[in-house]
Assembly symmetry: C2
Homo-oligomer: 287 residues x 2
Amino acid sequence: MVPPVAHIEAADRHGEVDIKTAYVRGVNRFAVKIASGFPGNAAHGLPTGSGMMVVFSAETGFCEAVLLDNGYLTDLRTGLAGAVAADWLAPKTIGTVGILGSGVQARYQLLSLALVRKINRVLVWGRSPEHVSRYVEEMQLLHGIKVEIARSAEDLVRQSAVLITVTASRSPIVRAEWMQPGLHITAAGADFPGKQELDPAVLERADRLFCDRLDQCRRLGELQHWKSDRPLKAVELGAVIRGAAPGRQRDSEITVCDLTGVGVQDTAIADRACAIAKSKFPELFAD
Amino acid sequence: MVPPVAHIEAADRHGEVDIKTAYVRGVNRFAVKIASGFPGNAAHGLPTGSGMMVVFSAETGFCEAVLLDNGYLTDLRTGLAGAVAADWLAPKTIGTVGILGSGVQARYQLLSLALVRKINRVLVWGRSPEHVSRYVEEMQLLHGIKVEIARSAEDLVRQSAVLITVTASRSPIVRAEWMQPGLHITAAGADFPGKQELDPAVLERADRLFCDRLDQCRRLGELQHWKSDRPLKAVELGAVIRGAAPGRQRDSEITVCDLTGVGVQDTAIADRACAIAKSKFPELFAD
Protein backbone atom coordinates (compact mmCIF):
# COMPACT_ATOMS: atom_id res chain seq x y z
CA MET A 1 0.00 0.00 0.00
CA VAL A 2 1.97 2.97 -1.27
CA PRO A 3 0.45 6.48 -1.19
CA PRO A 4 1.86 8.99 -3.67
CA VAL A 5 4.99 10.86 -2.58
CA ALA A 6 4.02 14.01 -0.68
CA HIS A 7 6.11 16.89 -1.93
CA ILE A 8 6.63 20.22 -0.21
CA GLU A 9 8.24 23.11 -1.99
CA ALA A 10 9.69 25.78 0.27
CA ALA A 11 9.81 28.09 -2.73
CA ASP A 12 11.09 31.18 -0.96
CA ARG A 13 14.06 29.17 0.33
CA HIS A 14 14.48 26.97 -2.76
CA GLY A 15 14.03 24.01 -0.45
CA GLU A 16 12.28 20.75 -1.22
CA VAL A 17 10.94 17.99 1.00
CA ASP A 18 9.72 14.56 -0.04
CA ILE A 19 7.73 12.27 2.21
CA LYS A 20 7.61 8.60 1.28
CA THR A 21 5.87 5.80 3.07
CA ALA A 22 4.41 2.36 2.52
CA TYR A 23 2.58 -0.31 4.43
CA VAL A 24 3.67 -3.81 3.48
CA ARG A 25 1.56 -6.73 4.58
CA GLY A 26 3.64 -9.17 6.63
CA VAL A 27 6.28 -6.61 7.61
CA ASN A 28 6.22 -5.78 11.33
CA ARG A 29 6.81 -2.05 10.94
CA PHE A 30 6.21 0.73 8.50
CA ALA A 31 8.29 3.83 7.96
CA VAL A 32 7.56 7.42 7.09
CA LYS A 33 10.67 8.82 5.45
CA ILE A 34 11.18 12.56 5.28
CA ALA A 35 14.01 13.75 3.05
CA SER A 36 14.88 17.33 2.26
CA GLY A 37 17.16 19.30 -0.03
CA PHE A 38 17.98 22.90 0.88
CA PRO A 39 20.76 24.09 -1.48
CA GLY A 40 21.16 27.32 0.49
CA ASN A 41 22.71 25.32 3.37
CA ALA A 42 26.00 25.05 1.47
CA ALA A 43 26.68 28.76 1.97
CA HIS A 44 26.67 28.11 5.75
CA GLY A 45 28.89 25.03 5.55
CA LEU A 46 25.93 22.72 6.21
CA PRO A 47 24.86 19.64 4.25
CA THR A 48 22.25 20.47 1.62
CA GLY A 49 20.36 17.22 2.09
CA SER A 50 18.99 15.53 5.13
CA GLY A 51 16.77 12.59 5.77
CA MET A 52 15.20 10.68 8.63
CA MET A 53 12.72 7.91 9.15
CA VAL A 54 9.97 7.52 11.69
CA VAL A 55 9.15 3.88 12.25
CA PHE A 56 5.79 2.59 13.47
CA SER A 57 4.55 -0.75 14.67
CA ALA A 58 2.34 -2.28 12.00
CA GLU A 59 0.37 -3.91 14.79
CA THR A 60 -0.55 -0.89 16.93
CA GLY A 61 0.38 2.15 14.83
CA PHE A 62 2.54 3.39 17.72
CA CYS A 63 5.85 5.07 17.03
CA GLU A 64 8.60 2.55 17.65
CA ALA A 65 11.71 4.43 16.59
CA VAL A 66 12.97 7.66 15.10
CA LEU A 67 15.98 6.99 12.90
CA LEU A 68 18.06 10.14 12.60
CA ASP A 69 20.17 8.61 9.87
CA ASN A 70 20.83 11.77 7.87
CA GLY A 71 19.81 10.00 4.69
CA TYR A 72 22.15 7.03 5.13
CA LEU A 73 19.41 4.41 4.92
CA THR A 74 18.04 6.11 1.81
CA ASP A 75 21.47 6.06 0.17
CA LEU A 76 21.81 2.40 1.07
CA ARG A 77 18.39 1.27 -0.11
CA THR A 78 18.70 3.28 -3.33
CA GLY A 79 21.98 1.55 -4.14
CA LEU A 80 20.54 -1.85 -3.24
CA ALA A 81 17.47 -1.22 -5.41
CA GLY A 82 19.86 -0.60 -8.30
CA ALA A 83 21.57 -3.91 -7.57
CA VAL A 84 18.21 -5.73 -7.53
CA ALA A 85 17.41 -4.22 -10.93
CA ALA A 86 20.78 -5.24 -12.38
CA ASP A 87 20.55 -8.69 -10.84
CA TRP A 88 17.22 -9.38 -12.53
CA LEU A 89 17.82 -7.54 -15.80
CA ALA A 90 21.53 -7.45 -16.72
CA PRO A 91 23.26 -10.42 -18.37
CA LYS A 92 24.81 -12.83 -15.85
CA THR A 93 28.31 -12.05 -17.07
CA ILE A 94 29.07 -8.44 -17.70
CA GLY A 95 31.94 -6.55 -19.29
CA THR A 96 32.57 -2.92 -18.46
CA VAL A 97 30.40 -1.18 -15.91
CA GLY A 98 29.86 2.49 -16.69
CA ILE A 99 29.00 4.97 -13.96
CA LEU A 100 27.62 8.27 -15.18
CA GLY A 101 27.98 10.70 -12.31
CA SER A 102 30.37 10.90 -9.36
CA GLY A 103 28.18 11.73 -6.37
CA VAL A 104 26.93 9.71 -3.44
CA GLN A 105 24.92 7.27 -5.53
CA ALA A 106 27.86 6.67 -7.87
CA ARG A 107 29.40 5.11 -4.77
CA TYR A 108 26.44 3.14 -3.42
CA GLN A 109 25.33 1.86 -6.83
CA LEU A 110 28.74 0.43 -7.66
CA LEU A 111 29.25 -1.15 -4.23
CA SER A 112 25.77 -2.67 -4.39
CA LEU A 113 26.27 -3.97 -7.91
CA ALA A 114 29.38 -5.75 -6.68
CA LEU A 115 27.10 -7.81 -4.41
CA VAL A 116 25.29 -9.37 -7.39
CA ARG A 117 27.79 -9.36 -10.26
CA LYS A 118 31.47 -9.99 -10.69
CA ILE A 119 32.92 -6.59 -11.58
CA ASN A 120 35.73 -6.76 -14.13
CA ARG A 121 36.19 -3.19 -15.23
CA VAL A 122 34.65 0.13 -14.17
CA LEU A 123 34.56 3.37 -16.12
CA VAL A 124 33.29 6.67 -14.75
CA TRP A 125 32.41 10.01 -16.29
CA GLY A 126 31.11 13.17 -14.67
CA ARG A 127 30.99 16.89 -15.36
CA SER A 128 33.40 17.83 -12.57
CA PRO A 129 36.92 16.38 -13.11
CA GLU A 130 37.65 17.13 -9.47
CA HIS A 131 34.68 15.10 -8.21
CA VAL A 132 35.52 12.32 -10.65
CA SER A 133 39.12 11.97 -9.44
CA ARG A 134 37.97 12.04 -5.84
CA TYR A 135 35.57 9.22 -6.74
CA VAL A 136 38.30 7.17 -8.40
CA GLU A 137 40.61 7.67 -5.44
CA GLU A 138 37.97 6.76 -2.88
CA MET A 139 36.81 3.63 -4.69
CA GLN A 140 40.42 2.44 -4.85
CA LEU A 141 41.42 3.36 -1.30
CA LEU A 142 38.29 2.40 0.61
CA HIS A 143 36.99 -0.47 -1.47
CA GLY A 144 39.90 -1.71 -3.59
CA ILE A 145 37.93 -1.15 -6.79
CA LYS A 146 39.93 0.18 -9.70
CA VAL A 147 37.97 2.77 -11.69
CA GLU A 148 39.11 4.34 -14.98
CA ILE A 149 37.97 7.70 -16.25
CA ALA A 150 36.19 7.82 -19.59
CA ARG A 151 37.06 10.58 -22.10
CA SER A 152 33.44 11.62 -22.50
CA ALA A 153 29.90 10.53 -21.80
CA GLU A 154 29.84 9.02 -25.27
CA ASP A 155 33.06 7.10 -24.66
CA LEU A 156 31.60 5.83 -21.36
CA VAL A 157 28.32 4.63 -22.86
CA ARG A 158 29.92 3.05 -25.95
CA GLN A 159 32.16 0.86 -23.74
CA SER A 160 29.53 -0.08 -21.15
CA ALA A 161 27.73 -3.41 -20.82
CA VAL A 162 25.96 -2.12 -17.71
CA LEU A 163 25.40 1.62 -17.39
CA ILE A 164 24.24 3.26 -14.17
CA THR A 165 23.19 6.88 -14.46
CA VAL A 166 23.17 8.85 -11.22
CA THR A 167 23.38 12.53 -12.15
CA ALA A 168 21.00 15.39 -11.31
CA SER A 169 20.80 16.28 -15.01
CA ARG A 170 17.85 18.17 -16.46
CA SER A 171 18.70 17.47 -20.08
CA PRO A 172 19.47 14.18 -21.83
CA ILE A 173 23.06 12.95 -21.72
CA VAL A 174 22.86 9.36 -23.01
CA ARG A 175 22.16 8.99 -26.76
CA ALA A 176 20.54 5.94 -28.34
CA GLU A 177 23.23 5.56 -31.04
CA TRP A 178 25.92 5.03 -28.38
CA MET A 179 24.32 1.86 -26.99
CA GLN A 180 25.80 -1.59 -27.70
CA PRO A 181 23.65 -4.75 -27.95
CA GLY A 182 23.02 -6.36 -24.58
CA LEU A 183 23.39 -3.07 -22.68
CA HIS A 184 21.50 -2.79 -19.43
CA ILE A 185 20.88 0.75 -18.13
CA THR A 186 19.75 1.50 -14.62
CA ALA A 187 18.61 5.13 -14.67
CA ALA A 188 18.55 6.25 -11.05
CA GLY A 189 19.11 9.99 -11.35
CA ALA A 190 15.75 11.35 -12.48
CA ASP A 191 13.33 11.49 -9.57
CA PHE A 192 11.52 14.76 -10.14
CA PRO A 193 9.59 16.54 -12.89
CA GLY A 194 12.10 18.06 -15.29
CA LYS A 195 14.98 15.74 -14.46
CA GLN A 196 16.33 13.68 -17.36
CA GLU A 197 19.47 11.69 -18.17
CA LEU A 198 18.39 9.62 -21.18
CA ASP A 199 17.42 10.85 -24.62
CA PRO A 200 13.82 9.71 -25.25
CA ALA A 201 15.20 7.74 -28.22
CA VAL A 202 17.01 5.53 -25.66
CA LEU A 203 13.64 4.49 -24.25
CA GLU A 204 12.26 3.87 -27.75
CA ARG A 205 15.31 1.92 -28.92
CA ALA A 206 15.37 -0.32 -25.82
CA ASP A 207 13.94 -3.82 -26.26
CA ARG A 208 12.40 -3.80 -22.81
CA LEU A 209 11.60 -1.07 -20.32
CA PHE A 210 11.30 -1.63 -16.60
CA CYS A 211 10.68 0.65 -13.64
CA ASP A 212 10.20 0.49 -9.89
CA ARG A 213 6.71 2.03 -9.85
CA LEU A 214 4.97 2.96 -13.05
CA ASP A 215 2.75 5.88 -12.05
CA GLN A 216 5.60 7.47 -10.13
CA CYS A 217 8.14 7.00 -12.95
CA ARG A 218 5.71 8.56 -15.42
CA ARG A 219 5.62 11.66 -13.21
CA LEU A 220 9.13 11.78 -11.80
CA GLY A 221 11.47 9.45 -13.66
CA GLU A 222 12.83 9.03 -17.18
CA LEU A 223 9.42 7.74 -18.29
CA GLN A 224 8.02 11.28 -17.89
CA HIS A 225 9.85 12.00 -21.18
CA TRP A 226 8.22 9.20 -23.18
CA LYS A 227 7.07 11.05 -26.29
CA SER A 228 6.45 8.25 -28.80
CA ASP A 229 3.08 7.66 -30.46
CA ARG A 230 3.44 4.04 -29.44
CA PRO A 231 1.93 3.28 -26.04
CA LEU A 232 4.51 3.05 -23.29
CA LYS A 233 5.15 -0.54 -22.26
CA ALA A 234 7.09 -0.55 -19.03
CA VAL A 235 7.02 -3.41 -16.57
CA GLU A 236 7.41 -2.97 -12.84
CA LEU A 237 10.46 -4.77 -11.48
CA GLY A 238 8.26 -6.31 -8.79
CA ALA A 239 6.21 -8.06 -11.47
CA VAL A 240 9.40 -9.57 -12.90
CA ILE A 241 10.61 -10.71 -9.49
CA ARG A 242 7.35 -12.41 -8.57
CA GLY A 243 7.23 -14.07 -12.00
CA ALA A 244 4.22 -12.17 -13.35
CA ALA A 245 6.13 -10.58 -16.23
CA PRO A 246 9.21 -11.54 -18.25
CA GLY A 247 12.56 -9.87 -17.63
CA ARG A 248 15.48 -9.94 -20.09
CA GLN A 249 14.98 -12.74 -22.63
CA ARG A 250 18.27 -12.69 -24.56
CA ASP A 251 21.81 -11.49 -23.84
CA SER A 252 21.64 -9.17 -26.87
CA GLU A 253 18.57 -7.26 -25.68
CA ILE A 254 18.89 -3.67 -24.53
CA THR A 255 17.10 -3.16 -21.20
CA VAL A 256 16.42 0.06 -19.33
CA CYS A 257 15.19 0.24 -15.74
CA ASP A 258 13.91 3.57 -14.46
CA LEU A 259 14.23 3.92 -10.68
CA THR A 260 12.65 6.75 -8.69
CA GLY A 261 12.68 5.19 -5.22
CA VAL A 262 9.60 3.80 -3.54
CA GLY A 263 8.33 3.97 0.05
CA VAL A 264 8.31 0.17 0.16
CA GLN A 265 12.11 0.30 0.14
CA ASP A 266 12.11 2.71 3.08
CA THR A 267 9.73 0.53 5.07
CA ALA A 268 11.82 -2.55 4.27
CA ILE A 269 15.17 -1.06 5.29
CA ALA A 270 13.73 0.70 8.36
CA ASP A 271 12.19 -2.56 9.53
CA ARG A 272 15.51 -4.31 9.07
CA ALA A 273 17.46 -1.52 10.80
CA CYS A 274 15.05 -1.59 13.76
CA ALA A 275 15.19 -5.35 14.06
CA ILE A 276 19.00 -5.19 14.20
CA ALA A 277 18.98 -2.25 16.63
CA LYS A 278 16.47 -4.01 18.86
CA SER A 279 18.50 -7.20 19.01
CA LYS A 280 21.75 -5.31 19.74
CA PHE A 281 20.40 -2.56 21.99
CA PRO A 282 17.18 -3.89 23.55
CA GLU A 283 17.40 -1.26 26.30
CA LEU A 284 16.62 1.45 23.72
CA PHE A 285 13.20 -0.02 23.02
CA ALA A 286 10.18 0.05 25.30
CA ASP A 287 8.31 -3.20 25.78
CA MET B 1 1.91 24.99 0.42
CA VAL B 2 -0.23 22.03 1.45
CA PRO B 3 0.26 18.65 -0.25
CA PRO B 4 -2.72 16.28 -0.17
CA VAL B 5 -3.09 14.13 2.94
CA ALA B 6 -1.16 10.90 2.51
CA HIS B 7 -3.31 8.03 3.68
CA ILE B 8 -2.14 4.52 4.51
CA GLU B 9 -4.57 1.72 5.01
CA ALA B 10 -3.27 -1.24 6.99
CA ALA B 11 -6.19 -3.26 5.70
CA ASP B 12 -5.28 -6.59 7.28
CA ARG B 13 -5.17 -4.87 10.69
CA HIS B 14 -8.03 -2.42 10.07
CA GLY B 15 -5.55 0.34 10.83
CA GLU B 16 -5.36 3.75 9.23
CA VAL B 17 -2.62 6.35 9.13
CA ASP B 18 -2.88 9.94 7.94
CA ILE B 19 0.11 12.14 7.21
CA LYS B 20 -0.46 15.87 7.07
CA THR B 21 2.04 18.59 6.44
CA ALA B 22 2.31 22.16 5.21
CA TYR B 23 4.96 24.74 4.54
CA VAL B 24 3.87 28.23 5.49
CA ARG B 25 5.90 31.18 4.27
CA GLY B 26 7.09 33.28 7.19
CA VAL B 27 6.78 30.49 9.76
CA ASN B 28 10.15 29.31 11.08
CA ARG B 29 9.33 25.63 11.13
CA PHE B 30 7.18 23.11 9.35
CA ALA B 31 5.65 19.95 10.76
CA VAL B 32 4.95 16.50 9.42
CA LYS B 33 2.13 15.07 11.49
CA ILE B 34 1.54 11.33 11.54
CA ALA B 35 -1.70 10.19 13.15
CA SER B 36 -2.99 6.65 13.29
CA GLY B 37 -6.10 4.78 14.31
CA PHE B 38 -5.84 1.07 15.09
CA PRO B 39 -9.18 -0.06 16.59
CA GLY B 40 -7.73 -3.47 17.45
CA ASN B 41 -5.58 -1.86 20.17
CA ALA B 42 -8.61 -1.59 22.47
CA ALA B 43 -8.64 -5.37 22.95
CA HIS B 44 -5.15 -5.07 24.46
CA GLY B 45 -6.02 -2.12 26.70
CA LEU B 46 -4.08 0.27 24.47
CA PRO B 47 -5.29 3.57 23.01
CA THR B 48 -6.70 3.14 19.51
CA GLY B 49 -5.31 6.45 18.25
CA SER B 50 -1.88 7.92 18.35
CA GLY B 51 -0.23 10.92 16.83
CA MET B 52 3.12 12.65 16.70
CA MET B 53 4.75 15.52 14.90
CA VAL B 54 8.20 15.84 13.41
CA VAL B 55 9.25 19.45 13.21
CA PHE B 56 11.78 20.83 10.75
CA SER B 57 13.58 24.12 10.39
CA ALA B 58 12.10 26.03 7.47
CA GLU B 59 15.54 27.49 6.89
CA THR B 60 17.68 24.35 6.63
CA GLY B 61 15.22 21.48 6.37
CA PHE B 62 16.93 19.84 9.37
CA CYS B 63 14.87 18.02 11.96
CA GLU B 64 14.50 20.29 14.97
CA ALA B 65 12.17 18.34 17.23
CA VAL B 66 10.12 15.19 17.50
CA LEU B 67 6.94 15.88 19.44
CA LEU B 68 5.65 12.64 20.95
CA ASP B 69 2.40 14.29 21.95
CA ASN B 70 0.12 11.28 21.47
CA GLY B 71 -2.29 13.40 19.46
CA TYR B 72 -2.63 16.17 22.05
CA LEU B 73 -1.59 18.97 19.69
CA THR B 74 -3.99 17.65 17.06
CA ASP B 75 -6.85 17.63 19.56
CA LEU B 76 -5.94 21.16 20.58
CA ARG B 77 -5.60 22.62 17.09
CA THR B 78 -8.79 20.89 15.94
CA GLY B 79 -10.73 22.48 18.77
CA LEU B 80 -9.13 25.85 18.12
CA ALA B 81 -9.93 25.62 14.40
CA GLY B 82 -13.58 25.11 15.40
CA ALA B 83 -13.40 28.23 17.57
CA VAL B 84 -11.91 30.24 14.69
CA ALA B 85 -14.79 29.10 12.47
CA ALA B 86 -17.40 30.03 15.08
CA ASP B 87 -15.70 33.34 15.81
CA TRP B 88 -15.88 34.38 12.15
CA LEU B 89 -19.22 32.82 11.26
CA ALA B 90 -21.55 32.58 14.28
CA PRO B 91 -23.59 35.55 15.50
CA LYS B 92 -21.77 37.63 18.12
CA THR B 93 -24.32 36.75 20.79
CA ILE B 94 -25.42 33.17 20.89
CA GLY B 95 -28.10 31.26 22.73
CA THR B 96 -27.81 27.53 23.28
CA VAL B 97 -24.68 25.70 22.13
CA GLY B 98 -25.40 22.16 20.96
CA ILE B 99 -22.72 19.50 21.03
CA LEU B 100 -23.47 16.42 18.97
CA GLY B 101 -21.11 13.73 20.19
CA SER B 102 -19.41 13.11 23.52
CA GLY B 103 -15.84 12.15 22.63
CA VAL B 104 -12.53 13.98 22.82
CA GLN B 105 -13.50 16.72 20.38
CA ALA B 106 -16.79 17.33 22.21
CA ARG B 107 -14.48 18.50 24.99
CA TYR B 108 -11.95 20.53 22.99
CA GLN B 109 -14.56 22.18 20.76
CA LEU B 110 -16.59 23.47 23.70
CA LEU B 111 -13.57 24.69 25.66
CA SER B 112 -12.23 26.43 22.55
CA LEU B 113 -15.58 28.02 21.74
CA ALA B 114 -15.58 29.48 25.24
CA LEU B 115 -12.48 31.46 24.24
CA VAL B 116 -14.39 33.39 21.57
CA ARG B 117 -18.03 33.49 22.71
CA LYS B 118 -19.87 33.91 26.00
CA ILE B 119 -21.44 30.53 26.66
CA ASN B 120 -24.89 30.75 28.24
CA ARG B 121 -26.27 27.26 27.88
CA VAL B 122 -24.88 23.97 26.57
CA LEU B 123 -26.80 20.92 25.42
CA VAL B 124 -25.23 17.61 24.47
CA TRP B 125 -26.48 14.48 22.76
CA GLY B 126 -24.67 11.28 21.91
CA ARG B 127 -25.44 7.66 21.19
CA SER B 128 -23.94 6.31 24.40
CA PRO B 129 -25.76 7.56 27.55
CA GLU B 130 -22.74 6.46 29.57
CA HIS B 131 -20.30 8.55 27.54
CA VAL B 132 -22.71 11.48 27.61
CA SER B 133 -23.02 11.48 31.39
CA ARG B 134 -19.25 11.18 31.75
CA TYR B 135 -18.96 14.20 29.47
CA VAL B 136 -21.46 16.22 31.51
CA GLU B 137 -19.71 15.32 34.75
CA GLU B 138 -16.26 16.16 33.40
CA MET B 139 -17.28 19.50 31.94
CA GLN B 140 -18.78 20.46 35.29
CA LEU B 141 -15.99 19.17 37.52
CA LEU B 142 -12.95 20.14 35.48
CA HIS B 143 -14.17 23.27 33.75
CA GLY B 144 -17.20 24.51 35.71
CA ILE B 145 -19.37 24.37 32.59
CA LYS B 146 -22.93 23.16 33.15
CA VAL B 147 -24.09 20.91 30.32
CA GLU B 148 -27.64 19.59 29.94
CA ILE B 149 -28.53 16.42 28.07
CA ALA B 150 -30.89 16.72 25.10
CA ARG B 151 -33.68 14.17 24.68
CA SER B 152 -32.67 13.38 21.12
CA ALA B 153 -30.56 14.63 18.24
CA GLU B 154 -33.64 16.44 16.98
CA ASP B 155 -34.23 18.11 20.35
CA LEU B 156 -30.57 19.16 20.42
CA VAL B 157 -30.56 20.68 16.95
CA ARG B 158 -33.94 22.42 17.35
CA GLN B 159 -32.68 24.26 20.46
CA SER B 160 -29.21 25.12 19.17
CA ALA B 161 -28.01 28.53 17.97
CA VAL B 162 -24.54 27.08 17.45
CA LEU B 163 -24.23 23.37 16.70
CA ILE B 164 -20.93 21.52 16.76
CA THR B 165 -20.96 18.01 15.32
CA VAL B 166 -18.11 15.77 16.38
CA THR B 167 -19.24 12.19 15.87
CA ALA B 168 -17.70 9.44 13.75
CA SER B 169 -21.05 8.88 12.02
CA ARG B 170 -21.31 7.33 8.59
CA SER B 171 -24.94 8.30 8.01
CA PRO B 172 -26.66 11.67 8.33
CA ILE B 173 -27.92 12.65 11.79
CA VAL B 174 -28.81 16.34 11.43
CA ARG B 175 -31.96 17.11 9.35
CA ALA B 176 -32.57 20.38 7.56
CA GLU B 177 -36.07 20.84 8.97
CA TRP B 178 -34.67 20.95 12.53
CA MET B 179 -32.59 24.09 11.91
CA GLN B 180 -33.64 27.47 13.32
CA PRO B 181 -32.83 30.78 11.57
CA GLY B 182 -29.39 32.11 12.49
CA LEU B 183 -28.00 28.65 13.24
CA HIS B 184 -24.29 28.17 12.75
CA ILE B 185 -23.05 24.60 12.36
CA THR B 186 -19.42 23.59 12.65
CA ALA B 187 -19.24 20.07 11.23
CA ALA B 188 -15.96 18.64 12.49
CA GLY B 189 -16.68 14.91 12.52
CA ALA B 190 -16.45 13.89 8.87
CA ASP B 191 -12.84 13.63 7.77
CA PHE B 192 -12.81 10.55 5.57
CA PRO B 193 -14.69 9.15 2.57
CA GLY B 194 -17.98 7.70 3.79
CA LYS B 195 -18.22 9.75 6.97
CA GLN B 196 -21.29 11.97 7.26
CA GLU B 197 -23.16 13.82 10.00
CA LEU B 198 -25.37 16.21 8.04
CA ASP B 199 -28.20 15.38 5.69
CA PRO B 200 -27.26 16.78 2.25
CA ALA B 201 -30.40 18.94 2.52
CA VAL B 202 -28.68 20.78 5.40
CA LEU B 203 -25.99 21.90 2.97
CA GLU B 204 -28.61 22.92 0.40
CA ARG B 205 -30.78 24.78 2.91
CA ALA B 206 -27.84 26.72 4.41
CA ASP B 207 -27.49 30.33 3.26
CA ARG B 208 -23.72 30.09 3.20
CA LEU B 209 -21.27 27.20 3.18
CA PHE B 210 -17.71 27.43 4.41
CA CYS B 211 -14.87 24.94 4.79
CA ASP B 212 -11.25 24.79 5.84
CA ARG B 213 -9.92 23.50 2.52
CA LEU B 214 -12.22 22.99 -0.41
CA ASP B 215 -10.58 20.12 -2.33
CA GLN B 216 -10.03 18.17 0.88
CA CYS B 217 -13.60 18.74 2.14
CA ARG B 218 -14.97 17.58 -1.21
CA ARG B 219 -13.10 14.31 -0.73
CA LEU B 220 -13.23 13.82 3.03
CA GLY B 221 -15.72 16.16 4.66
CA GLU B 222 -19.47 16.80 4.57
CA LEU B 223 -19.04 18.39 1.15
CA GLN B 224 -18.34 14.94 -0.31
CA HIS B 225 -22.11 14.39 0.00
CA TRP B 226 -23.13 17.48 -2.01
CA LYS B 227 -25.65 16.00 -4.46
CA SER B 228 -27.53 19.06 -5.73
CA ASP B 229 -27.66 20.02 -9.41
CA ARG B 230 -26.64 23.51 -8.35
CA PRO B 231 -22.89 24.03 -8.34
CA LEU B 232 -21.40 23.84 -4.86
CA LYS B 233 -20.51 27.28 -3.54
CA ALA B 234 -18.33 26.86 -0.49
CA VAL B 235 -15.88 29.49 0.67
CA GLU B 236 -12.63 28.69 2.46
CA LEU B 237 -12.50 30.15 5.96
CA GLY B 238 -9.08 31.58 5.14
CA ALA B 239 -10.61 33.70 2.38
CA VAL B 240 -13.11 35.12 4.88
CA ILE B 241 -10.39 35.87 7.43
CA ARG B 242 -8.17 37.71 4.97
CA GLY B 243 -11.16 39.68 3.66
CA ALA B 244 -11.30 38.09 0.22
CA ALA B 245 -14.80 36.64 0.68
CA PRO B 246 -17.81 37.58 2.78
CA GLY B 247 -18.70 35.66 5.94
CA ARG B 248 -22.09 35.74 7.66
CA GLN B 249 -24.06 38.78 6.47
CA ARG B 250 -27.16 38.70 8.72
CA ASP B 251 -27.96 37.22 12.12
CA SER B 252 -30.78 35.21 10.57
CA GLU B 253 -28.60 33.40 8.04
CA ILE B 254 -27.86 29.71 8.46
CA THR B 255 -24.14 29.00 8.06
CA VAL B 256 -22.33 25.67 7.88
CA CYS B 257 -18.56 25.25 8.14
CA ASP B 258 -17.08 21.91 7.15
CA LEU B 259 -13.77 21.20 8.88
CA THR B 260 -11.48 18.31 7.96
CA GLY B 261 -8.23 19.56 9.48
CA VAL B 262 -5.36 20.97 7.44
CA GLY B 263 -1.59 20.52 7.70
CA VAL B 264 -1.26 24.30 8.06
CA GLN B 265 -2.79 23.94 11.52
CA ASP B 266 -0.25 21.28 12.45
CA THR B 267 2.65 23.41 11.26
CA ALA B 268 1.27 26.41 13.15
CA ILE B 269 0.78 24.62 16.47
CA ALA B 270 4.04 22.69 16.18
CA ASP B 271 5.94 25.92 15.54
CA ARG B 272 4.29 27.49 18.58
CA ALA B 273 4.94 24.42 20.76
CA CYS B 274 8.61 24.37 19.73
CA ALA B 275 9.04 28.09 20.33
CA ILE B 276 7.65 27.66 23.86
CA ALA B 277 9.71 24.52 24.51
CA LYS B 278 12.87 26.23 23.25
CA SER B 279 12.38 29.25 25.50
CA LYS B 280 11.64 27.10 28.55
CA PHE B 281 14.09 24.24 27.95
CA PRO B 282 16.87 25.64 25.72
CA GLU B 283 19.13 22.76 26.77
CA LEU B 284 16.92 20.36 24.78
CA PHE B 285 17.74 22.09 21.51
CA ALA B 286 21.02 21.97 19.62
CA ASP B 287 22.38 25.31 18.40
